[in-house]
Symmetry: C2
């Protein structure tokens, strides 16, 4: 199970590329496989639509059990909201298959680099997608992140059908930090049309936010330095 | 400011390697520069001892202001408990210098890949180092992570002089989750002598834990599957 990073070949690790080149079959969401075309991989590329994750994991294990070297790809890091946990869970019923996870640059890290250094101290990653997680669980996480003064990276903030979650998350965090708290947004990090911008928590809306946007909400110490979002790595040098 | 990943050249991104090869000067902690020797970089390698971070950031900006292409390296991701935020803060007083951050595979991701997929759902990163952060701030974070049922990645768990912090963190988390909660530990991920093992939160001690160990404490849904640590990516497939 291989993480492709944000999409730029410059952020695909050599280990991930080696695994892709050694594979008999590469499985993944159609759009990710499309992005791999320039690598001219020797193995078969077998795409499937988004949403077919359980079937994809089962197919990967079935092909591997039949002796084929299979790579299943995720964007970012396959272990972070990706396919790795689903494959390992599915493999509980296929214990003969050896599963290796190749790490990658997850969206919080690629977005952070484009914004400056907002993850310089403790942070939490929270997905706003309530497709597979009950919303009360997500609220509890946001509450806790607010109470703990964590910098918060928000994954899956908004889609065509999920529009109220981001404003609701903003309002929850506003109970713990001031309206002027800086927020960084990155859309399509390290891909064509990438865009990074800053706003304040009190002014955050869904404008410009979509499936490929990652948000980073600062904590009480995060500030904007020369236009970059920075969370100091400590509370004053010794 | 470039993140080197865990240390294995297979997890150094091409973008990071390109930056290193283009540099006139590469600055960093002595041990990290030593690990770069096999790359035979054309630029000058200028090491400094650990603890001299503020001086290293100032030197990097001074050399860059004098027109040299400077790379400052961090292990993992330079933006996560690394040098990026310190450099950007220091650059506030040297606004003419252009600072770019190249992301990398941070320790939580490399450790997670070796353990299985413990970061498959929301997680928090907390550093147990109270050298630059008051301990009450760290306690507040651990409390919140416990309350929010976050998977917790613990950075800087223990050193020769910091020995009580890890047991204290364990006890705080035990107030929110059962003693049998699985914990994964990885020492020297993707480096010579790498070692990954599992224990239970109630039995966690500092045994085998050092400066290069990363711990991942499961949440209420994390479990061990075929010997791997897995946090499901959702609360049941639709």
């Amino acid at each position: 199970v291989v993480g492709l990073g944000p999409g730029d070949p410059g952020l695909l690790t050599p280990q991930a590329e080696r695994a892709l080149r050694a594979a008999d079959v590469v499985l993944g969401y159609d759009a990710y496989l499309e992005a791999l075309r320039p690598l001219r991989l020797p193995g078969e590329l077998r795409g499937s639509p988004i949403g077919a994750e359980a079937e994809r994991a089962a197919l990967a294990l079935e092909l591997a059990a039949a002796g084929r070297r299979v790579v299943l790809v995720s964007s970012g890091d396959a272990g972070v909201y990706g396919m790795a946990s689903l494959v390992l869970e599915t493999a509980e019923r296929a214990p003969g298959v050896e599963v290796e996870v190749v790490p990658g640059v997850t969206a919080a890290l690629s977005a952070a680099a484009l914004l400056g250094a907002p993850l310089g101290h403790d942070f939490a990653c929270v997905s706003l997608s309530d497709l597979l997680t009950p919303w009360p669980v997500i609220e509890r996480r946001l509450e806790a992140a607010g109470q703990g003064d964590f910098v918060v990276a928000l994954y899956n903030p908004l889609s065509k059908r999920r529009t109220w979650q981001l404003p609701r998350a903003r309002d929850l965090l506003l109970q713990h930090r001031p309206a002027e708290t800086p927020v960084g947004l990155v859309d399509r990090a390290y891909r064509a049309g990438a865009r990074a911008w800053l706003t304040a928590l009190g002014e955050l809306t869904g404008a410009g936010v979509g499936m490929e946007t990652l948000l980073i909400v600062g904590n009480s110490r995060t500030r904007v330095v020369n236009g970059r979002l920075v969370t100091p790595r400590g509370y004053g040098e010794r």
